[in-house]
Each structure stands twice: as structure tokens, then as C-alpha cells.
């Protein structure tokens, strides 16, 4: 008997009920896909473009889902890969060379005008990209380090380090912000 939404979606996919599976997956994970996209791209409109595109790709690829991972892990991996591609394309069109020392770091660190509400979310947007995406997944669904590592395609130790350093930075920034 299905116990989680992920199981329900998987059961629908097995029975080739793609429309229902898609509706359920998008209602369950659409917002979090946007959160992840926003954490990578730093621009609400661009993140929505990315997620819209990813949703269509997911619809097309539903029959190819293999049950060796959670549906959400599969969806977030596609979302992340698409956003990183968009980020690369954006960088290719930027007038300043990202190969110049310090420029890439700056581009990864600054997220322009977060359009989401809380002060902590705003602070999260100022962290370097690897910390942002790891923390977004960490808080989105309390994903295990293993799943986050799979989505981000990096070792578990690196994920733990990113989350640790990200939280440390956030605590520091949050403390400073409260003193102002």
C-alpha cells in the first residue's frame, strides 16, 4: 500500500497513468523545484522559466523514470541540471570574462533581489552557489545527505561540508543583521 506521495506517484507510473502521476508530482514538488531553481539562478522570473521548461521535459520523460531513486530525487536532479545549463548560458553572454580571478566567485555568490519573503531566505541568497543549493534541498524536504549528494552529483562528505559551512555563514549573517 502506498505510504508516501513519492510511492503514490511511483505506483501511478507503474500503471502508466502518466497524467495523474504528473499532476501529483507537480503539485507535490513544483514549489520546491522553484525554490531550488531560484537558489541556483537567483532570479524569480528566470527560475520560473526554468521550472516551466523542466516540467515539460519531465512530462516527456515520465516513461523513462527508473525506480532506482525517489521520484523527487529524479525531479530535482533534472531541475538542477537544467538550471546549471541556463547559468552557463547566461555566463556565456555576460560581457565580463568569468575566467578573471574572483569574478566567478562573485557571480556565484550574489543572488539578485530575492523575491521570496523572509529575511533568512534573503540571506541564503547571498551565500555561494554550492551552499545555496545544498541548503535548499536540506530544508525543502529534510532530504538525507545521500539523496542530496545524488541530486548534486557530489560526494556525501562535500554535501555535509557545504551544509555545515552554509549554516555557519547564515548564523553569522543573521546575527549581524539582527544587530543592525
Amino acid at each position: 500500500m502506498p505510504t508516501t506521495r513519492d510511492d503514490e506517484i511511483r505506483a501511478l507510473l507503474v500503471r502508466k497513468r502518466f497524467t495523474e502521476a504528473f499532476e501529483l508530482a507537480m503539485s507535490a514538488y513544483g514549489g520546491r523545484m522553484l525554490g531550488l531553481a531560484f537558489s541556483i539562478l537567483g532570479d524569480r522570473a528566470e527560475a520560473e522559466d526554468a521550472v516551466q521548461d523542466v516540467m515539460v521535459r519531465i512530462w516527456r520523460a515520465l516513461p523513462q523514470f527508473r525506480a532506482d531513486s525517489a521520484v523527487s530525487t529524479w525531479i530535482y536532479t533534472i531541475t538542477r541540471n537544467r538550471c546549471l545549463t541556463m547559468l552557463k548560458q547566461r555566463r556565456a553572454h555576460e560581457p565580463v570574462s568569468l575566467d578573471e580571478p574572483g569574478t566567478r566567485e562573485a557571480a556565484e555568490s550574489v543572488v539578485a533581489a530575492p523575491a521570496l519573503e523572509s529575511d533568512v531566505w534573503t540571506l541564503l541568497g547571498t551565500l555561494p552557489l554550492p551552499y545555496r543549493q545544498a541548503l535548499t534541498l536540506f530544508y525543502a524536504e529534510e532530504k538525507s545527505y545521500e539523496e542530496i549528494a545524488r541530486i548534486l552529483d557530489m560526494p556525501i562528505g562535500t554535501v555535509k561540508t557545504h551544509i555545515h559551512r552554509g549554516r555557519k555563514l547564515l548564523a553569522s549573517l543573521y546575527g549581524e543583521a539582527r544587530l543592525k
Binding site: F18, F22, M26, G30, G31, R32, M33, L34, G35, F38, E48, V51, Q52, M55, V56, W59, R60, A61, L62, P63, Q64, L116, E117, S118, D119, V120, W121, L124, L135, T136, Y139, A140, E142, H164, R167, K168, L170, A171, Y174, G175
Partner: protein, 120 residues
């Protein structure tokens, strides 16, 4: 709000600590205002970010557009090349097995001799 340097990393990883390590931290935090405040800040951040990330909604108008697009296309059921390749191997294996059986039972030898003995 600067925590004790010796405890900062463990306060950040508090949720991942084993019970024994956690009790050491609990003991310290009970007597250290700075670390207590730091741990409270971390928890506040956790609570706020969890709520924020989970509250994000995808724009319904955008989703309607997605459904409009997906309504006109079917999911791509891509057949793998591997099963086709395996089908070919299996067919070859069945043929070889059948030939082997026939050879063993003398059917082949009988057919060859019958054909060679035929006047035509």
C-alpha cells in the same frame, strides 16, 4: 553572539550528533549564554528556512501554460536498444541449442546421409 570556538562546529551539527556527544553539548549550553543563544539562532534559521522553502508555490498561470503544452504531446516511450540486442542473442542461442541437440541425436548425420544417397 559568538559561541565558544571549541563548541561552534558541534553546535552547528547538533542534530547529527550521537546522544553521548549531545549530552556534552547540552551540559555546556546550560551554563554558557553565548552558546545557548547561538544554538537558538541556528534553530530559528532552521525553522524559518524550512517554512520558507516549503511555502514556495509555482505560479498557477505558468502551470496552466505547462498543462496546455503537455496536453498536445504524449510522454516519450523510448524503447531501449538493449532488449532488441538481447532478443537477437537469445534467438541465436536457441538456434545453436537446437542445432546441437539435432547433432547429438544424429538427425543431422541422418539427413546428410539421406541427401547424399538420394539419386537426384
Amino acid at each position: 553572539m559568538t559561541p565558544c570556538a571549541a563548541f561552534e562546529d558541534r553546535l552547528i551539527d547538533y542534530a547529527d550528533l550521537r546522544p553521548g556527544d549531545r549530552s556534552v553539548i547540552d551540559e555546556h549550553v546550560a551554563g554558557c549564554a553565548a552558546c545557548r543563544e547561538y544554538l537558538a539562532t541556528l534553530r530559528e534559521i532552521d525553522t524559518k528556512l524550512t517554512a520558507d522553502v516549503r511555502a514556495i508555490q509555482f505560479n498557477p498561470e505558468r502551470y496552466a501554460e505547462v498543462r496546455r503544452q503537455t496536453g498536445s504531446m504524449r510522454p516519450v516511450v523510448r524503447t531501449s536498444r538493449l532488449p532488441e540486442w538481447l532478443d537477437f542473442v537469445a534467438a541465436c542461442a536457441v538456434c545453436a541449442f537446437g542445432y546441437g541437440l539435432a547433432w547429438q541425436s544424429g538427425v543431422i548425420a541422418y539427413l546428410v546421409s539421406a541427401l547424399s544417397a538420394s539419386p537426384n
